[in-house]
């Protein structure tokens, strides 16, 4: 077997996924090839190192440190919550003010329109009065 072929089977060898014949061939190669033997040993040591890291317990002080950092956060959250509530109230007030201003403006426009149209009508009446007056004068 060539080195590349053997090295390609390292994962399967580590996982115990090789059939007995393949396993035997690879083990035979490892006994005769220093390079592959060395590489396989390094990879196995890396695996063992990962297993060692995995077993590391978190430090005893950590839980208290985490919990001590949370109240500040809880306070922040409550401030945020209050801000959100205030923002909601402000938004509602703005909508209310907008509606009220709209209603007032609408009323003002209506009043102006109404007085304008009344004045036009008055003018028209005046105009017709003038016309009537002219007709009266002509008749005289």
């Amino acid at each position: 077997m060539k080195c590349a072929e053997v090295q390609n089977k390292f994962i399967a060898l580590q996982d115990g996924m090789l059939n007995p014949v393949e396993k035997h061939k690879i083990e035979e190669h490892l006994q005769t090839c220093n390079k592959c033997q060395w590489l396989y040993a390094m990879l196995t040591k890396t695996d063992q190192y990962m297993a060692y890291e995995k077993q590391q317990r978190s430090p005893d002080f950590l839980a208290n440190r985490i919990l001590a950092s949370l109240p500040t956060h809880a306070a922040k959250q409550s401030i945020n919550l209050q801000l959100t509530r205030l923002q909601k109230i402000a938004a509602l007030l703005l909508v209310a003010i907008g509606l009220a201003s709209g209603w007032l403006l609408g009323n003002m426009v209506y009043t102006t329109d109404h007085s304008f149209s009344t004045s036009v009508t008055d003018e028209f009446n005046l105009g017709s009065d003038i016309g009537a007056f002219e007709a009266f004068l002509l008749n005289q």
């Binding site: 990879l43 890396t46 190192y49 990962m50 317990r57 978190s58 985490i66 950092s69 949370l70 959250q77």
Partner: protein, 184 residues
Amino acid sequence: MTDKELLKRIRQNDPPANRELVNAYQQLVYTTSMGFVHNSHDAADITQEVFIKFFESLDSFRGDAKISTWLYRITVNVSLNMVRNERKRKYSLEIKDIDIPAANDTNYDKELENEQIKNALSQALAKLPKRQQSVFVLSRYNDMSYHEIAAVENISVSAVESLLYRARRNLQKYLKNFYEKNYK
């Protein structure tokens, strides 16, 4: 106590519930972050940050997923960010910086070897694409099933399988290059 009950108590600002959550999940977060950063100091910092982020995101957590799944997701993101920042700072322990051990000091030999392996592992893992990196760590450091990893990563089970296979192949390739270059 179920996740939902615990969350309900936390949302009601019940301090013992906060402690229960931290006690129940601290080790899980610590072990996962260890798989990314390979040192206890950074792993502790990440664990603290993860819990703060968890509490910050409580409002957006609807409770459809398990608390552990949510914590894994945050841990992966925070850890990957730290690894990225570390790489930016070009942090690495070069072999030339290690003191030559005394002749008969076997403990020192072992320590040195561990330091070399840790260095190789950090650099090789950091070279993997993010998804491969996180799938590998979740599988190797947390013994999670493909289904659990799929839930954390929000991908299919077959995608997890394929990512994990590629991660292991690539890791072996990078480790081989690293060891041949530095220690042969």
